[in-house]
């Protein structure tokens, strides 16, 4: 908004005529002329705690309530950001100074068919809520993320994946159909045959096209509450990729943790964890292991330390030296102890690593405070998806660049992916590496510069990015990897479903600001 436009706005210029006020207010037009109640104002932040904004948060529990929020936004000239579990790392569910539509109270499981394993849920149902409901009947979500606190609606909006992406694709591949509420109040039923273009665009459409109000999901049959897990080391990136290429056609889950502090011949050394579902009859205790209690993570560490305070014990290690040590020790200990041993672990313990230590992210937040810096810290995750052919070279280059810039990621996770049919997909037939960087007031600028440099490496290798994790992507990089044609198609759908551009987020404005602004005048004509 240029200041020139603002000059035309007069609330009340007559110094002696305060009585004429109310009329003058309405002259503001499409901009917020109506004050919203302060008690809805809350700070919303990304999971990484580095991007936040004050928003007017509304938590409706019915479809009618969502419609009212859209109407409120229209009346007050604000945009609406959809928010689920708030587990996106960056600004994907943040809308500073606008309205945040928090869907966590739309959390009912509407229908459950234990014979066919089909669940119809509202968007605020979390992965955790879903598996706890279905596991007793022998069904598990086909795709789960590293935390069970994401909502199904948010997961569909980002088209999330798990450690089995190479085998079963993203969550969208298991959604049979959904109802999408458009900002104008209309509900569109979408499936692979009905409104299929919207089906493939809204899944992964980062909340730009409409609000999921009902999602039907096909669950996965399991015959035990456990998976068989095997761990083995890889001495460097080449070996890691070789192992993955060998194992992925037969494995059910495959994930590796990379020690980014290792250099030279050990660059990209990692620990791989491979898991298989158990077949019928493999588990003599099925009735027991399929109980929710069996899956629940223990609430103490080693039977004594309450997990709720575990993150405080992590604080001393939350510095480059401490993390170097942690990474080194983890690699060498596990490389010695794990190989050759197959152990059984519950689905919950294997999949939900991010929930294992509650509030572990606070270690990132308070680590800078220990060093007497005033600003609390946070972290970002930089995840890039690289085609298999160029993966080894590209990922090595990424780690090397981080080391050269003196910003070594504290944690790196490596996964295998496959292509999918969704319009805004982040997946490639290849690999992804997710790098966790601590952020403080001191390194923030350097870190964003590093991310821009990494983007160039990734784009050269034909790589892609993922909005759920993103904090740093620039518009040009997004245009490059998605391609103008895809974006034109996506924003044509956006114009059709949301001509007023009511649905926006800070992320959408950061990456697609120009395209979103293009739409407003078009809508008014």
């Amino acid at each position: 908004m240029s200041p020139d436009d603002l000059s035309k706005i007069e609330i009340n210029s007559g110094a002696n005529a305060p009585e004429t006020v109310p009329e003058a207010v309405s002259a503001i037009g499409s901009r917020p002329a109506v004050a919203l109640p302060w008690d809805h104002l809350e700070r919303t932040e990304g999971f990484g705690m580095t991007q936040s904004g004050l928003s007017f948060v509304y938590r409706p529990s019915t479809v009618e309530g969502i419609r009212e929020v859209f109407e409120l936004a229209r009346r007050t000239g604000r945009f609406v950001a959809l928010r689920g579990g708030g587990r996106s790392y960056g600004d994907a569910a943040v809308a500073g100074e606008n309205i945040c539509l928090d869907l966590t109270r739309m959390n009912r499981i509407l229908e459950w068919d234990p014979v066919r394993g089909i669940a119809m849920v509202e968007p605020g149902v979390t992965i955790g809520q879903l598996w706890q409901y279905t596991i007793g009947d022998g069904w598990w979500p086909p795709v789960v993320t590293g935390t069970m606190f994401i909502t199904i609606g948010g997961g569909a909006g980002m088209n999330v994946h798990g450690k089995n992406n190479f085998a079963v694709g993203p969550i969208g591949d298991h959604i049979l159909n959904f109802d999408l509420l458009l900002p104008n109040g209309e509900i569109r039923h979408c499936s692979r045959v009905e409104n299929s273009d919207l089906f493939f665009a809204a899944i992964g459409g980062f909340g730009m096209l409409g609000c999921f109000v009902r999602i039907t999901l096909q669950m996965k049959r399991i015959y035990s509450g456990m998976v068989a897990v095997e761990g083995y080391p890889a001495r460097n990136m080449a070996e890691l990729i070789e192992q993955f290429e060998r194992q992925y056609p037969t494995a059910d889950y495959l994930v590796a943790w990379i020690d980014c502090f290792a250099r030279g011949k050990s660059l990209g050394r990692a620990l791989v964890h491979e898991a298989h579902y158990l077949h019928a009859g493999d588990d003599p205790n099925t009735a027991q292991t399929l109980r929710v209690e069996y899956q629940t993570l223990p609430d103490t560490m080693m039977g004594v330390i309450p997990k709720s305070i575990m993150w405080m014990f992590m604080l001393p290690f939350a510095c480059p030296l401490g993390m170097r040590l942690t990474n080194w020790a983890k690699f060498h200990l596990s490389a010695r102890l794990e190989p050759g041993k197959i152990h059984r672990q519950s689905h919950g313990a294997f999949n939900f690593l991010l929930d294992y230590v509650p509030n572990w992210k606070l270690a990132y937040k308070y680590a800078p405070k220990l060093k007497l810096m005033r600003e609390p810290g946070g972290f970002i995750q930089y995840q890039s998806f690289i085609p298999a052919a160029t993966a080894c070279e590209c990922l090595e280059a990424e780690i090397r660049l981080c080391q050269q810039r003196g910003l070594v990621p504290w944690l790196a996770v490596f996964k295998r992916h496959r292509k999918d049919a969704f319009l805004m997909t982040h997946a490639v037939d290849g690999y992804s590496m997710a790098l966790d960087f601590p952020v403080s007031a001191r390194n923030r600028k350097r870190l964003w510069e590093l991310a821009a440099e990494l983007n160039r490496i990734v784009l050269e290798a034909g790589g892609r990015f993922y909005f759920a994790k993103d904090s740093t992507l620039e518009p040009e990089s997004a245009e490059t990897y998605l391609g103008a044609e895809t974006l034109d198609k996506f924003f044509a759908l956006k114009r059709e479903c949301d001509p007023e551009s009511l649905l926006q987020t800070d992320l959408a404005n950061r990456i697609f600001g120009d395209r979103l602004r293009d739409e407003r005048p078009a809508a008014q004509q």
């Binding site: 908004m1 240029s2 200041p3 603002l6 000059s7 706005i9 007069e10 609330i11 009340n12 210029s13 007559g14 110094a15 305060p18 006020v21 109310p22 003058a24 207010v25 503001i28 901009r31 917020p32 002329a33 109506v34 004050a35 919203l36 302060w38 104002l41 809350e42 700070r43 904004g53 004050l54 000239g77 604000r78 500073g96 100074e97 606008n98």
Partner: protein
């Protein structure tokens, strides 16, 4: 030291408000300027935007239209994309003869200096309390420390503002919000022009001191500092003597 990125200055088109806006804009802080005088306002905003395009956001508004404050306040935070600090600078000081009583002028004084401040700062207080951060700067005056003969309503308006700001500080400090009461002595601004004032300082100097105090998260700050000692003495003059004094 706080790095402000978005500031709101109510009464930002002349005097100290203008100087504060210039100083903040120099440091790349976006400024929203609210003023009733459109010509002055646009001149200041244009000159700031000429140096750094998009840094100044002008809003024409009379602080006496209290009903508008809530919506305009939210519009400003929306336009700025947030808010770190609010300066309430608007003030009037009508000249009165020693035996003159003018209710219209008195009413305007209270409305601009006190009620306007309450209307705007109530909004800021609610927002900052929820944000758990922010700085509120209110311009009171040394005149509010004692009821002198000269301008009863002006002194009362500033005394009320001082008390209001103190109460706000006591409400908000537990939420991480700082409220700074500035008590300037005479400053060379349109407000004081045409009258003879002792120890007068230029507006730019006052602006620098105010910003310094606000950044330090001071509580009650006299500008310049010498007035703290002068007013300590003045405050402690017994009434029996004060009634006989001519100043």
């Amino acid at each position: 030291m706080a790095t402000w990125q978005r500031a709101l200055i109510v009464g930002g088109s002349s005097g100290m408000g203008e100087e504060i806006a210039r100083e903040l804009a120099r440091r790349n802080c976006k400024v929203a300027l609210v003023s009733w005088c459109k010509e002055e306002l646009m001149a200041v905003a244009d000159s700031l935007n000429a140096v750094t395009p998009g840094i100044a956001f002008p809003y024409v508004h009379d602080v006496r239209s209290f009903e508008c404050a809530p919506s305009l306040f939210q519009q400003i935070t929306h336009d700025l994309g947030g808010l770190d600090v609010v300066f309430y600078m608007a003030g009037v000081m009508p000249r009165l003869q020693p035996d003159e009583y003018d209710f219209d002028q008195d009413k305007k004084t209270i409305e601009v200096n006190t009620l306007g401040a309450i209307a705007w700062l109530n909004e800021a207080a609610q927002r900052f309390q929820r944000a758990r951060e922010g700085t509120i700067v209110g311009i009171s005056s040394v005149a509010g420390d004692r009821g002198r003969r000269g301008m009863p309503a002006y002194a009362a308006s500033k005394a009320a503002l001082t008390c209001y700001l103190e109460a706000l500080r006591n409400r908000l400090s537990q939420h991480g919000v700082s409220v700074v009461t500035i008590k300037p002595g005479p400053v060379d601004t349109p407000l004081t022009r045409g009258s003879k004032q002792p120890l007068i300082i230029p507006a730019s100097k006052a602006a620098t001191l105010i910003l310094k105090a606000a950044r330090r998260r001071g509580k009650t700050v006299y500008v310049p500092g010498i007035w703290r000692y002068i007013m300590f003495i003045v405050r402690n003059i017994p009434s029996a003597i004060f009634t006989r004094m001519k100043f």
